[in-house]
Subunit: 364 residues, 2 copies
DNA sequence: TAAATTCTGAGGTACGCACCTCAAATGCGA
DNA sequence: TCGCATTTGAGGTGCGTACCTCAGAATTTA
């Protein structure tokens, strides 16, 4: 039997150097079987949760796993599966620039992941028809797909479809927006309340002692994200900066005309506007409209998500900071979580926390 | 022969949904051999760069690779290697809190990587004895180690040791600090000039219209990192904020006593200090000293690297922002780069760029 | 106690590639 | 054209696991 911890010291002659060593041999299922006093077949049954093993035997095997420090070799396991992992990202059909970035990262990941037998896919859901979306999700079978990251509104239909998918053995994880943490505390994305707080703090710090009011502009206040960001934003401003006033949230509904209208109105109604907060994921429209109205000039402006629009505006000094979440990290984290679920492994929470990044022109 | 692109459509009945499909079969070395009209042995020779193949044959195989879109199955390749990947991080013996964080992440990675047949190791180098360090590195053989990430001063000895390691077939990558980009443009770490600029911009923005001078404190000005950060910092301040003056860099040499001395002197010599920039990786000492001297109170202060010290100071409001690079990303990126080198693959530059993060209390 | 049921073992194949050996074919120069 | 070195082919083994079958052992039930 090969023990888990025989090591060779890489630099045995250099004792004074602190170094830990490389493991040479790791116990295999064969070692496990011998240690547990059962056959390979039984070990396989236990490891893969197949039926037909007495409780006592299961415990004997688990005991041996513990004793040997056995870890399944995922490389061999993946190869033996005869098929790679197939993950999908269910995203809304209507998208913004940030969504485009995410999709590009998924494509990149898919290309790179081939060699590791991991594939990533995008499914576009009709965001205005929860029934249809739910039907699409309900049609997926474990044959086609191992796991799915979902960005979809929290309707009862979707919720139900998710539950049924999980029952069929498809792993799920809520992704970036529009979803409760659901079915086990996993969630891929930033804490939007903290993101709002960050924006608020930064806006106030950049303003310094200047007094006045702040315009808050977003696509729609209906979304959970907007709500949370607004909460975090207001909390910081109200608690710490009484000389600043936050105006009611304005909505663009994704329409440049309307955006221009509401922004112009707000600027006319309040002659003391010193800051703007573009709260939604689609900052392109607010930025363009603000450019036309010359609204950010002399005011501090903060937007969300790095996209070509925000990047350009940041470089030109039209806006002052961008609160961001890295789409590459989002994608890779989702895949890691889904894969860990497939393999019944835990994930390192610290590694999977998506950072709320602050971008200014200098650290783009 | 199996083509690379036969697909099954996951949602064939849902045409209106945009979706790309899952690849079912990928060409194997066997397919490659058939397509190139050579044997498996020859394919193997070409793929693994073994000698004894006519140029014309090599081209035929490469041609077939191109035509089929062949990608080596890294899962199978890793399994067949009969041994996992062994990577090491050569780090200075004397460390700061940030180095501790990095080491912790290496440990985490090592634990998690076991299942993927990747091991990570730490080798501590004596930073005051380049000869000894070089000797340590020179002793490493490809049997023991596949690649190494190196944080060590750029002495001729080290440089030489690195070259010889590369000749022996050990992959290397400069890591975080003290190293030129060396041998191919890879470097794991942030752009320190940009980091300095970021710090400068942020400091100035937080200060607003306030006039005065800024104290810059670091461990030693000898290091390349300090130099670059200072350059970036000064560039931003001088170009954009003429009402601010940057004072000459003060050095702590890692000594709290000395730190307190130089800081107190500087504060006494200049009664207009409005900001502090703790430029080194070890902000603990400056923070503690500043606390004793009550130096940051009423002044804007920026430090580098998230550590228990900086995190605590940020939460307490003793400092205003931290410029950070994520140690987890550093470690994983180094491993990805080393592994890609081992497998003769390219890496996605966009994925490997380490972000210069800005942390404030709200986005910790 | 016999029969039915549940559990277990032994053995196999497969995944895609790395690495090995040895014989045969090919190309080359003289 | 021969002899030699170089190049190629055929075949093998092994990595650690998944997944399969079927016979026989152990246990439970009637």
């Amino acid at each position: 039997m090969r023990l888990p911890l025989p090591k060779i010291c890489a630099i045995i002659l250099l004792k004074p150097l602190e170094t830990w060593m490389f493991t040479t041999m790791r116990p295999t299922t064969k070692d496990l079987a011998k240690a547990a006093g059962v056959s390979l077949a039984t070990v396989d049954r236990v490891l893969n949760g197949r039926a037909g093993v007495r409780q006592k035997t299961v415990e004997a095997v688990n005991d041996a796993i513990e004793r040997l420090g056995f870890q399944r070799n995922q490389v061999a396991a993946t190869l033996a599966r005869q098929r790679g992992y197939r993950f999908a990202f269910a995203l809304p059909r209507s998208g913004d620039e940030f969504l485009d970035e995410i999709i590009e990262r998924i494509r990149e990941f898919d290309t790179a992941g081939r060699a590791e037998m991991v594939e990533a896919n995008v499914i576009r859901l009709d965001d205005h028809d929860p029934h249809k979306s739910a039907r699409v999700l309900s049609r997926l079978t474990p044959d086609e797909i191992d796991g799915i990251a979902i960005m979809a509104p929290e309707t009862p239909q979707i919720r139900d479809a998710l539950l049924r998918m999980q029952e069929r053995g498809i792993r799920t994880v809520p992704f970036v927006a529009n979803q409760h943490s659901f079915g086990g505390g996993d969630f891929v994305g930033i804490d939007n309340r903290a993101a709002g707080s960050t924006a608020g703090r930064l806006l106030a710090r950049f303003l310094g002692p200047v007094q006045g009011s702040i315009i808050v502009l977003t696509e729609t206040t209906q979304s959970r994200d907007s709500l949370e960001r607004r909460l975090g934003f207001d909390a910081v401003i109200h608690r710490n900066y009484p000389h600043l006033t936050t105006l009611p949230t304005l909505e663009t509904h994704g329409d440049p005309g309307r955006a221009q209208h509401v922004l112009r109105n707000a600027l006319q109604a309040h002659d003391d506007v010193v800051g703007l907060y573009f709260m939604g994921a689609e900052a392109r429209i607010p930025i363009e409209v603000a450019r036309v109205l010359n609204a950010t000039n002399g005011r501090v402006t903060i937007a969300h998500e790095r996209t070509p629009s925000t990047e350009h505006a940041l470089r030109k000094g039209e806006i002052d900071a961008v609160i961001h979440q890295d789409p590459g990290h989002l994608v890779r984290s989702a895949v890691r979580i889904l894969r860990a679920k497939c393999e019944n492994r835990a994930t390192l929470a610290s590694q999977e926390r998506i950072r709320t990044e602050i971008l200014i022109a200098e650290n783009l």
